[in-house]
Symmetry: C2
Subunit: 411 residues, 2 copies
Amino acid sequence: MSSSPIPEAREVKPAEEGMEALRMDEEGKDDDKVTPWSVSAGSATGVDYDKLIAKFGCRKMTQELIDRIVKMTGKPAHPMLRRGMIFAHRDIEVMLKRKEEGKPFFLYTGRGASSGSLHLGHLVPFILTKYLQDAFDMTDDEKYLWKDLKVDEAKKMAKENIKDIISVGFDPEKTFIFTNFDYMCPPFYENVVKVWKCVTTNQSRAIFGFTNEDSMGKSAFPAIESAPCFSSSFPHIFGKRIDIPCLVPCAIDQDPYFRMTRDVAPRLKYPKPSLIFSTFLPALQGAQTKMNASEPLSCIFINDTPKQIKNKINREAFSGGQPTVEEHRQKGGNCDVDISFQFLKFFLDDDDQLEQIRQDYTSGKMLTGELKQLAIAEVQRVIGEVAERRKQVTDATVEEFTKIRPLAYKY
Amino acid sequence: MSSSPIPEAREVKPAEEGMEALRMDEEGKDDDKVTPWSVSAGSATGVDYDKLIAKFGCRKMTQELIDRIVKMTGKPAHPMLRRGMIFAHRDIEVMLKRKEEGKPFFLYTGRGASSGSLHLGHLVPFILTKYLQDAFDMTDDEKYLWKDLKVDEAKKMAKENIKDIISVGFDPEKTFIFTNFDYMCPPFYENVVKVWKCVTTNQSRAIFGFTNEDSMGKSAFPAIESAPCFSSSFPHIFGKRIDIPCLVPCAIDQDPYFRMTRDVAPRLKYPKPSLIFSTFLPALQGAQTKMNASEPLSCIFINDTPKQIKNKINREAFSGGQPTVEEHRQKGGNCDVDISFQFLKFFLDDDDQLEQIRQDYTSGKMLTGELKQLAIAEVQRVIGEVAERRKQVTDATVEEFTKIRPLAYKY
């Protein structure tokens, strides 16, 4: 990962789009492995996102597109957009054009329910979605299918996760939060069945790498993640028979679902969803993998106290600094592998300050302890804001967001 | 097929129950091929049902069980039950015992939507269900997944089929008719997902013979046929959290779905469904296969006129008679392969009359033309009764049967 605003992609021919184009787990081709279920990078600087763009056949987020977004929204670009963490897209231009023409689109993002609190990495697509504003999803059924869970446990987890998500600051007038278990209804199911019919088991295996030992549910699930991309799944939200296209902000590992969806959409006479992809928030131990709730020490959780945040970053955050102060002053630190610096890159708003920190740490002027102090303060601020809102979120708030009702939007 | 009331099964060791026990399409073992999608028999007398009992691992319907049903219901056994067309079951005793103890069970049967009118063979499980009384299902989604159909076409076909089914004479107070497309809701979906999780792709392939070229929907579908066996799929019908067991009357080709369901039920802490199986109503051309709507000449449809019924039986119904009158008088006819006789066996209520016909045709006293006359009259009567009721069935009647509401039952 470079700290330059928008790193230039190397010249790599992008893969063709479409279901047949590639399989997720092309092991052996490179050391990065990115699937919806696990992420591991071959290098301490994390996943090579330029390679991933080429491999997945998506497009690089260019400065020109960012400028267009800034101009259109009249607001500064989100730090993640300015700094290359929103690094790729599929057909974002289609949505920008619609916006310029005063035509509607909707946002759809989601996550699999996880036990306990969400962590900082889970927040990234929601922070991005909030920045863009929204209608979104949570897959309690997915976690039930993939994990050793009871349905009630999955539902309970989903409810707690919804509270965390609401705490990112979504507008209840414009946001419909649903879980697959609770929302499943004829219009949604009809789109699930339509997607099912378009994709063969062969194609689904090639895209997702399912095996014969996997449950029937796993191979059925991709259509359930796919169907909410089609506005006719939500007649009570959008009105019947209106095909409003969808923009999906998500981490790049979810691309297989939407590659499949984009392949299927024209055959169902639905608009293709557009996508914008974020990079992964690295685990505390290093960018070889992302934060993973099942390894609690790799994560900062929304319900971590300021003290826990401080201790976790001080003890666990992988450092790009040198073993001794003398050596650090002499050789300088490596921001590209330093997790504290990565956190600042994700969350610190001030570009000038970030650049100053980068220079000072790289030159050795700033010590690892000092850098960690800054990261601790910034992460405490982000989590603190969410935690503050979280206190206000009750079951009634969840009801407000999950109630089936028309959203406040005009077009 | 023999015309003796209940043919004795040969001594064949039944297959073990359970998903791993066998695959549907064990070709090469014998000449009969019976799957949910096609039926073909190696012999003119049709499928060897005793072999099928052994192969599928179900149990023979015994005279003792029939006597128990008669005693319990205080009504004469249905002709199909008396004559071995309801030839097998799984755990029917469990339901009889419940009935004796005043405990409830519900009936679930269904069919895939088919274009145009239903045919006589389609009616068999519904006639049987009506005899038993009910709550049942229609799989518009299945036909959409298996055939080259649009969703709206499948739904429209389903609606017309529902009208045909209602015309069998069901009681709207005790019957809930649903289509998967229209009924799909959280409690139903929750059971679908639970079944999905219990069955691996390997098992599903072994049971149903799916290949990699089949759509994702086909491999997802078995759980959707399975879930209505669990009363918690219908909280508004049965009340929440009440596990009422289910008895499924169906043709034997549907057994794979319910073998899977019975295997899964204990793991979900649900009662296993019991089953009673009917034989196939033979095609006009002979008992090597069953009536098949996509070969209209093989079928008698509910909307066939008396004249069409007459012409079809006269022209198409395979005869067990001899080529010339002289030869027939001398050698006699073969009731076991004669389709007119099979129709009488399915529908003629009078056992003495049926036995007289059998003797007269076998001895050569009765000619093929005379036998066909009798079959025509009987089929005209059965279809006529349904057609008469069909005239009264409107969209409002469909609404009455498909409305989600508690059924009138006491326990």
